[in-house]
């Protein structure tokens, strides 16, 4: 096994007493002494600081925004040309079978597009961008930048102590802020369902910024354990689990991410990998769909648990792709895929847990209401 990589905050994690685990090739904090449950709840109540420097940061440059946007639209089925300057949007890389190769955030920075992609996919994403975009465009990975996420209802007050203009940003706005003298590329977004910011800074400035944020009494460091339970309650997909190269955006209930302009009849219809399959699914039906599931007992049902229509039926109709305990809702939560005729909220299904069929209720996502500053 190759050596695990370190983020610029690695020493700080150890100093804070984090329990470290391997994740996507990095040695990452899964929890701090506070523990997953309290870290989760602290993020919902006040603010949590997450190190997400393992994620890939990439900029794409070109002669003008239009050229860059149209180039990227050939890989990503969202409206990039129509994205206003200093706004961010959720996107997906698709493949020829209509499957999802990665999900990402992309921002219009005027003269370039800034992308944030998943750690485990970043090398493939960079290769895809470099080989697929026409020669007028330049793809620059930014491995010398760290990424911090400040999430939770106190985030605005905390970040405003360093740069008051943080408070002027709305959900999915992006801006360059000066955070204690550090030039930071900031978006008002995150992966918890809470208000918050993602903050890109040069690696050598990351630790001093993290320490300044942690100095605020409302901020606690939060590990990957709580990051997972927060995003699960928020109904957000984890790449490689809830969405994969075998699931299409329509099956994944991510059709909302494909704006009308990219759909059949739109001005920028299709033109991305798998467009024929994805657009026909939007117009018709997908055979299966991602749904929220609430186990009715206390036992969490995790990835891989097979789902049945009854206590005795022999053939599973799907399986759980993410599951665990939801600290805010106080009960187990899960999401998974089932055949399209069993997706109505309120439907009772059964998960096979250690040989027992236990009831699950199809539940509208998210489990916890989103708390964004629109």
């Amino acid at each position: 096994m190759s050596e695990l990589k370190h983020t610029p905050l690695h020493a700080l994690h150890l100093e804070l007493g984090a329990k470290m685990v391997p994740f996507a090739g990095y040695d990452m904090p899964v929890q701090y002494p506070l523990g997953v449950m309290k870290e989760h709840q602290h993020t919902r109540d006040k603010a949590g600081l997450f190190d997400v420097s393992h994620m890939g940061q990439i900029r794409v440059d070109g002669p003008d925004y239009k050229t860059i946007a149209l180039g990227l639209e050939g890989l990503i089925p969202v409206d990039i040309l129509g994205l206003p300057e200093n706004r961010q949007r959720y996107g997906l890389f698709t493949n020829n079978a209509g499957g999802i190769e990665d999900d990402l955030m992309l921002a219009n920075r005027g003269d370039h597009v800034f992308l944030v992609v998943n750690a485990a996919c970043k090398d493939a994403d960079i290769a895809r961008l470099k080989s697929s975009l026409n020669k007028g465009l330049t793809v620059t990975p930014l491995p010398d930048r760290a990424l911090l996420a400040l999430q939770g209802p106190s985030s605005e007050a905390v970040l405003s102590t360093l740069d008051p203009s943080a408070a002027q940003m709305s959900f999915m706005d992006v801006a360059t802020l000066s955070l204690g003298g550090v030039e930071a590329w900031v978006s008002r977004s995150g992966y918890t369902g809470e208000d918050g910011y993602e903050i890109s800074v040069p690696s050598d400035q990351a630790e001093s910024l993290a320490r300044r944020l942690l100095d605020h009494p409302d901020v606690e460091p939060i590990g990957l354990g709580a990051r997972d339970s927060l995003r699960l309650e928020a109904g957000l997909c984890l790449y490689g689990h809830d969405i994969t190269a075998e699931t299409t955006p329509v099956e994944a209930a991510l059709t909302w991410a494909i704006q009308k302009i990219r759909r059949t009849g739109g001005d920028h219809e299709g033109g991305f990998p798998g467009a024929d399959i994805i657009l026909s699914q939007i117009g018709g039906t997908a055979s299966r769909k991602r749904i929220g599931l609430k186990p009715e007992g206390r036992a969490p049902m995790r990835e891989g648990v097979e789902i049945y229509v009854s206590e005795r039926s022999e053939t599973p109709i799907g399986s759980i792709t993410s599951g665990g305990f939801g600290p805010t809702v106080g009960h187990p939560v899960a999401m998974g895929y089932v055949t399209a005729d069993h997706t109505a909220p309120g439907t009772t299904l059964y998960g096979d847990l250690r040989g027992k069929r236990l009831p699950l209720t199809v539940t509208k996502l998210p489990f916890t209401p989103a708390n964004f500053k629109r």
């Binding site: 899964v30 929890q31 523990g35 997953v36 449950m37 354990g225 339970s229 206390r298 036992a299 969490p300 995790r302 665990g324 305990f325 600290p327 187990p332 250690r354």
Partner: protein, 119 residues
């Protein structure tokens, strides 16, 4: 008190043995959110699966350190699994087993040996 390599503590009370998990195990598991206890009256084998516990991270099995009959389980844990984190060696006990043969107890560690193992 005796200890197993699986981080269980065992307290002998006549021919009954009370079983729980150690402070060290509770810390390592993280917040416990679910405990599935056996039914009283269940016959278990030595090293047979007796309890399933789920923490925020994963599911783990608790094995029975002895063969025998489960004579009592800690129902309070089903309602409040966090007891296993808060008071693992007291109110967070798991089950009581009436052992047919207590001799395996001699093979388990005393406190000093257990402490040496986890250090």
């Amino acid at each position: 008190m005796k200890y197993t390599e699986e981080h269980e503590w065992l307290r002998v009370d006549g021919d009954i043995v009370v079983v729980g998990i150690t402070e060290h195990a509770a810390t390592q598991l993280g917040d416990i959110v679910f405990v599935e206890l056996p039914d009283t009256g269940t016959e278990v084998e030595k090293d047979g699966e007796a309890v399933v516990i789920e923490s925020v991270k994963a599911a783990s099995d608790i094995l029975s350190p002895l063969a025998g009959e489960i004579v009592e389980v800690n129902e309070a844990l089903s309602e409040n699994p966090a007891l296993a984190n808060e008071d693992p060696t007291g109110q967070g006990w798991f089950f009581k087993i009436k052992a047919a043969d207590l001799s395996p107890m001699d093979g388990y560690m005393d406190e000093a040996a257990y402490k040496a193992m986890i250090d």
